[in-house]
């Protein structure tokens, strides 16, 4: 056991010398410099529908004998949005100034924000979703068309525009 004990001292000494040397290297500073990095995030608002066109057709199954009103609904499309700014809402409008039939739209089950009441589409922008600030989310878009038997046959083509705007 004496031999190992005698060897221990040089080993410990070597470790101390190496550690001191390393500390000395780290402490050596020959100069420093800095610069400022600025990241600017602009207001970003994204809005998208997953389906570009929707076809609604009033068929026989939606007609009841003796009733003038005929309806059809579609909930196949989704609106997706993202905004990093607070105080935003989504509005909706149509380009069709004088539709033959009535078309309503409503936001269903929004993942953030609050759905406005179902609205009858017109060329005036109307609230669709409220309080969507700083969020990304989605909701189903439900269209409901109403036609009266007394209005006869025909068709309407709407271009629906959803817009994120300040609340």
């Amino acid at each position: 056991m004496k031999r190992p004990a005698r060897l221990l001292f040089p080993v410990l000494l070597s470790v101390y010398v190496l550690a001191a040397s390393s500390e000395s290297v780290q402490a050596q500073t020959y100069g420093s410099d800095f610069h400022r990095v600025t990241v600017t995030v602009a207001t970003i608002t994204l809005l998208q529908t997953n389906i570009g066109s929707i076809n609604l057709s009033i068929t026989g199954s939606s007609v009841i004998a003796g009733q003038d009103l005929m309806t059809v609904s579609d909930q196949s499309s989704t609106l997706l949005w993202g905004t990093n700014s607070s105080g935003k809402k989504v509005t909706v409008r149509t380009n069709l100034a004088a539709p033959k039939y009535s078309l309503k739209v409503a936001a269903i089950n929004p993942t953030s924000g609050t759905a406005a009441s179902e609205v009858t589409l017109s060329t005036t922008s109307t609230d669709f979703l409220l309080n969507i600030g700083r969020s990304s989310g989605s909701c189903a878009i439900r269209y409901t068309a109403l036609a009266l038997a007394s209005q006869g046959t025909g068709s309407d083509v709407h271009t629906i525009t959803f817009t994120i705007t300040n609340q």
Binding site: N55, L56, S57, G66, L79, T153
Partner: protein, 169 residues
């Protein structure tokens, strides 16, 4: 240039490019989205009746006149809807040679929903006009059946299958 400075410069460039890309994306997609919705309404015609079967029973007679007293029933209601033009409602019986007499009349027709014809007698299987002038409308009326039987026809039972159809004029 020191490697450390090059590294910082690259990081700054990366951040700059990322911000530019985000701004470009936001600009490209904009804050609005469009969807084209097409609504089509084809010609639709519907007709329905509220009672699948009804029974008229002649069970009294006028002894002095020597005739039976007719039985009447107005429980049935007919409904119709069409968004087409120039339609009419016709009626037909399945009984080709009835033993008794069955008559039909539309009562209380919804205003502007059509024009009822005078009382119809089912004495064959021919299709007869029941309500005419049905154009882009919905309506209803009571169906009044009147059954009568001459004394000579005796007693018995007859079944009629009455078919109402909305069709072009």
């Amino acid at each position: 240039m020191k490697p450390k400075r090059i590294s910082i410069l690259l990081q700054v460039l990366l951040v700059f490019v990322t911000v530019l890309a985000l701004l470009e994306t936001a600009h490209a997609q904009g804050a609005s989205a469009r969807q084209v919705v097409t609504l089509e309404v084809l010609e639709l015609n519907r007709i329905d009746i509220n009672m699948m079967s009804l029974t008229l029973t002649i069970q009294d007679a006028n002894a002095q006149a020597g005739i039976t007293i007719p039985a009447a029933n107005s429980d049935g209601v007919l409904f119709w809807t069409t968004n087409g033009e120039n339609k009419k409602i016709t009626v037909a019986s399945s009984n080709a040679s009835p033993r008794f007499e069955l008559k039909l009349m539309a009562v209380d027709v919804t205003p502007r929903a059509g024009v009822p014809v005078p009382e119809i007698i089912f004495n064959d299987t021919q299709t007869k006009d029941f309500i005419t002038g049905v154009t882009k409308t919905s309506g209803r009326c009571q169906i009044r059946y009147t059954a009568s039987a001459p004394i000579q026809a005796g007693v018995g039972r007859e079944t009629y299958v009455i078919t109402y159809t909305i069709t072009g004029s």
